[in-house]
Symmetry: C2
Subunit: 377 residues, 2 copies
């Protein structure tokens, strides 16, 4: 995406809920961050949390924008990668927040992808029992997904996101320019959650992704802007109806029961989250076929084709079926040990299925390439 | 309080808010904990967090009550004392919760005083982004104060409660029997927050404490039941109108601006929280006189007399005035470095005062026995 091309108008999606906020999607937003932050309110003092590869490209423009708007900004750089979503890194952010003398109306800013957003967001949720939170998602994955919904958290050695809080940002700025510096693999992994949102929405939104795939892969700004805005709108609608995951919000778990198990079984960081979700969507589509939700072989073929066009994995090679099954039991959405599957029936129609026999799940996993395991358990 | 005496009927105070819940105050409630927990709902699985001195007296009856009601209970004992409100102890509770296989509808139970309630409550707020929380406050302080309001959290080396979350319990059982095993100093420290609540309420509630002081000191159950129920009702009303401390709830900070500074300056654990609040009330009363809120010398004399009757400290001996002032600057309720004082004008009338000159505060602190400091700063 050429940096000099004229910017289209930014899209604004208002997320309703306990504390409504705006998500802006467009180009050049990072350079307006200072004035936009001031317009929302609070104390003009901020701690910006980021990772080295993002800082390299985007620290300077954000610093300049905040300074120009009179925002007193401190920076805290954490190591890149999922390992940073730890209680140890969290303690480091608290210390930085104390040093920066943040008060309850000050801001914690997440400049980066999902890891930075979850970690800095949990710090914002809990430091002084909650300070203001600005999200500047710089990955496609974070823009289409993590920037909406208020979920924040860190990992424990036993599993991902086992500790966290709901905390709504005061503002989200999804600057499409930041996607220009994203490595190709990182960029493509972002499509998985967008595909999920298309499936949750309807034929129209799902169809757009299928039709626009070539333009999206070329990172055409107009196509990306529609993709991100669609995703934010779809997710915001679900979250707005069920902010604390009492019911409907569980639909967003599509692809994630298997996806989370893949990440845990492979060891955090081996699979990108988006890649795990893509394979999770493929697996849960196959499971939907197996249990007969109404999902058809034709739909499954389309889904696999789309994921493959986007260079996303649809196979479980290198993973042991029994290990995946064991990890699913720890899924935090399991209630009293019973897994609740969200399975596709058609675009716009997702069904909740419980009581799927372990053997059926196991067979599907093996069909998708997971290893049987030597002991044949 | 003789354990065999007939139990009066328990009092129930319903706390309104985002998630209403009931606080029960009476005798023998711990032995009914299992059935009462089951009646509220959730998964019959619990992790009970407590400290050794409380476990010694009350683990067995609670264990029996939970077992009789079919609740699968795991126990996690943390060291006694304020130092346990740490990120390290928090990590230990998360691990215990994983081992106990808690799900989102399971319970974390705080059996103990304010430290256990804050620590276990923060774990309940954040494990799996929030599980059910039962509070069984076993100190007078926790019964009159910490069991209402949803504040949970841990300390950082730089200050108390700098990290935390709002998390409402699903149920609170304030069993007056547990006060029978409380050491005298611990018991008396509990009166400070009750005096504060009396001051926040009206002449009637404040007057009750003054009249009933001798009976309260003898731990007469009927007097204690009224005291605890009054406090819960007064605090619940304030919190219900302002659950997240946007305004009115700041009234509860009476006595705490100085109180928190005392605890921090002395080193955590040197002063009991209630003792620090008592001296804080005395100091803030004196400050109210100095800035002219309408608080009278006669009112101040009454307040000091009541605190002294209850064997609570009203002096700041052994503390340096400048250290106290410095600690106040870090108070998490300070916005943009400006302290907002909540000062008494009369029982039922508390006024917010900003812009109190540092010298005026300093003089009051010194009058109450704080040291000037060798360098005369």
């Amino acid at each position: 995406m050429p940096r000099g091309s004229p910017a289209a108008e930014a899209t604004c999606v208002r997320v309703e809920g306990e504390r409504p906020y705006e998500v802006w999607i467009g180009r050049g937003l990072l350079r307006e961050a200072g004035t936009r932050l001031r317009a929302v309110g609070g104390t003009p003092r901020a701690l910006i949390v980021t990772v080295p590869p993002v800082a390299r490209h985007w620290q300077e423009p954000l610093r300049a924008s905040l300074a120009a708007a009179g925002v007193d900004a401190a920076w805290h750089v954490v190591p890149d990668g999922e390992e940073s979503k730890s209680l140890e890194q969290l303690a480091g952010i608290y210390q930085a927040a104390l040093t920066a003398r943040l008060d309850r109306e000050s801001w914690i800013v997440a400049l980066g992808g999902g890891v930075v957003g979850d970690l800095a967001g949990f710090a914002a949720a809990t430091f002084l029992r909650g300070v203001r939170f600005l999200q500047v998602p710089t990955t496609l994955l974070a823009q289409v997904d993590a920037s909406v919904g208020g979920k924040t958290g860190v990992n424990l050695p036993a599993g991902k996101n086992l500790v966290g809080a709901f905390h709504w940002p005061s503002l989200v700025l999804a600057d499409l320019d930041t996607l220009s510096t994203l490595p190709e693999g990182e960029f493509r992994a972002g499509f998985a959650e967008a595909v999920k949102h298309g499936l949750l929405s309807d034929e129209n939104d799902y169809g757009f992704i299928r039709r626009a795939a070539p333009r999206l892969l070329r990172r055409e700004p107009a196509a990306l802007q529609r993709l991100v805005a669609d995703s934010v709108r779809i997710k915001a609608a679900v979250v707005g109806r069920d902010p604390r995951e009492a019911g409907e919000r569980r639909r967003l778990n599509l692809g994630h029961t298997v996806g989370h198990a893949i990440e845990a079984a492979a060891g955090y960081g081996r699979w990108r989250h988006g890649e795990a979700v893509a394979a999770g969507l493929a697996a849960e589509g196959a499971l939907a076929l197996a249990v007969g939700t109404g999902w058809t072989a034709e739909r499954q073929r389309e889904l696999l084709e789309l994921l493959e066009t986007l260079s996303l994995p649809t196979q479980l090679r290198g993973l042991r079926a029994d290990e995946l099954l064991e990890r699913m039991r720890y899924d935090k959405k399991a209630i009293a040990g019973e897994l609740r599957w969200m399975l596709p029936a058609a675009p716009g129609r997702i069904v909740e299925v419980t009581g799927v026999p372990r053997d059926v799940v196991r067979r599907v996993l093996v069909e998708l390439g997971a290893e049987e395991g030597e002991d044949g358990r």
